[in-house]
């Protein structure tokens, strides 16, 4: 993970952890690194890491066990997948259609590609 300087790092941390949960790299119920471990590993300020983790706790993706650490919430994956499904067409499909129209790819070619690629 390399952080860029174009958006707040705490948001990038939250995104990365969400991504790990959606892909299954981090399992529900699994303990995540402490903020100090995370800060040391990625060489970032511990307060920044803590802010990213706090955001995930607010979002219901992580929860705290006092004195033990932070864990992935039992329903975190569903929660995140639902959120991403809601924005999938607006974020992913619509821009693709705009681009296809701009460069003259007929929609039927796209459908054909989706069928071939999806079944491969």
């Amino acid at each position: 993970m390399v952080f860029d300087d174009r958006s707040p790092i705490y948001l990038q941390i939250a995104e990365q952890i969400k991504n790990d949960i959606v892909t299954g790299a981090l399992a529900e119920g699994e303990q995540v690194m402490s903020t100090n471990q995370y800060a040391a590993f990625y060489r970032i300020n511990p307060a920044t890491a803590a802010k990213g983790f706090a955001q995930l706790v607010d979002d219901g993706v992580l929860y705290k066990k006092r004195g033990i650490g932070m864990f992935v919430a039992p329903n975190a994956r569903d929660l995140l997948r639902t959120g991403r499904r809601d924005s999938f067409f607006a974020d992913v499909v619509d821009p693709m259609i705009r681009e296809a129209k701009a460069i003259g790819i007929p929609l039927k070619d796209i459908l054909q590609h989706i069928r071939t690629y999806g079944e491969a």
Binding site: D5, R6, P8, I9, N36, A39, N45, A47
Partner: protein
């Protein structure tokens, strides 16, 4: 956060032969955070660092250091209680050169109330600084490493590294960053890293102070600066229309196309309008923002 110190400057000015190096500076460094002191060469970073550490007397205004076991605010200049708790590490070393490394270590151990001998031993080992060698015989990198060792092992409630680590090679600098973060996690204290290499340290900072020509340009949480600028590219007239109400940091023209970098948060409605009008909008990285904020105005 047992011992971390708070720093304030009030109307602080320092002049060299009448020329201001620091010009009526008002700032506050919150306790227990890692602060970046950023600015170009000659911006006043080193003068500020030296004045905070009591190496230099203000010409006007004052520096106040408080909190931890100091209690009420005190000025650092000619004040042994404060200066024993404030550690400034500079490239020059500020120490006799003709003695072996172990003498410098012994001196620091005697002067620093929070000195950690185990940590010093571990750091000397990891940075491979030879104890019995005379300091003047060390390479530039090892001299810098010795400074870093003394700065970290002093565990001073206010620790300032004034570009002192820049003499080290990349693996040693990375080791410094790792050891700094590890020991800071164990004993949070107020740390100031002065540098002009913004991108290398920015992720480790919580707040930044940006100086230019002895004046405060901005003080802000570093994450708030990320994404705070925007560049708008498109037909010159359209770009001008959208950037009219913003602080313009830089402008470039190529034929009828113009690229303007502005400071400030563009609200989503305005962004949507600008996109609809055919402008390309991009974020501005911290390093670029720093260059624009401290650059020579054209």
């Amino acid at each position: 956060m047992t011992a971390a110190l708070t720093v304030r400057t009030e109307d602080l000015s320092v002049r060299f032969a009448g020329v201001p190096a620091l010009d009526r500076l008002d700032l506050r460094l919150a306790p227990g955070k890692i602060h970046g002191l950023l600015g170009r060469n000659g911006s006043g970073k080193s003068t500020l660092a030296a004045t905070l550490a009591g190496f230099r007397r203000p010409d006007e205004g004052r520096v106040l250091i408080e909190g931890g076991d100091l209690g009420a605010a005190q000025e650092p200049y000619e004040n042994a209680v404060v200066t024993s708790r404030v550690c400034l590490i500079r490239e020059s070393g500020d120490r006799p050169d003709a003695v072996p490394v172990k003498h410098a270590v012994g001196l620091a151990a005697a002067l620093r109330p929070y000195w950690d001998a185990d940590l010093a031993g571990e750091l000397l080992d990891r940075f491979e600084v030879p104890l019995n060698k005379k300091i003047q015989k060390l390479s530039r990198g090892k001299k810098s490493a010795l400074g870093v060792v003394l700065g970290l092992a002093s565990r001073a409630p206010l620790t300032i590294f004034d570009e002192s680590y820049l003499g080290m090679d990349v693996p040693s600098r990375n080791l410094f960053y790792d050891m700094l973060l590890a020991d800071y996690a164990e004993m949070p204290r107020t740390i100031v890293l002065s540098t002009h290499l913004v991108s290398e340290v920015s992720a480790m900072l919580e707040e930044v102070v940006i100086l230019d020509q002895g004046r405060l340009v901005t003080q802000s949480p570093v994450d708030a600066l990320r994404g705070r600028g925007a560049s708008l590219v498109g037909p010159a007239a359209t770009v001008d229309e959208f950037t009219a109400s913003f602080t313009v940091l830089a402008e470039e023209r190529l034929g009828g196309t113009k690229s303007t970098t502005v400071l400030g948060d563009l609200d989503p409605a305005l962004l949507a309008q600008a996109t609809a009008a055919g402008l390309e909008i991009g974020p501005v990285g911290l390093q670029d923002l720093f260059v624009h904020l401290t650059g020579v105005k054209s």
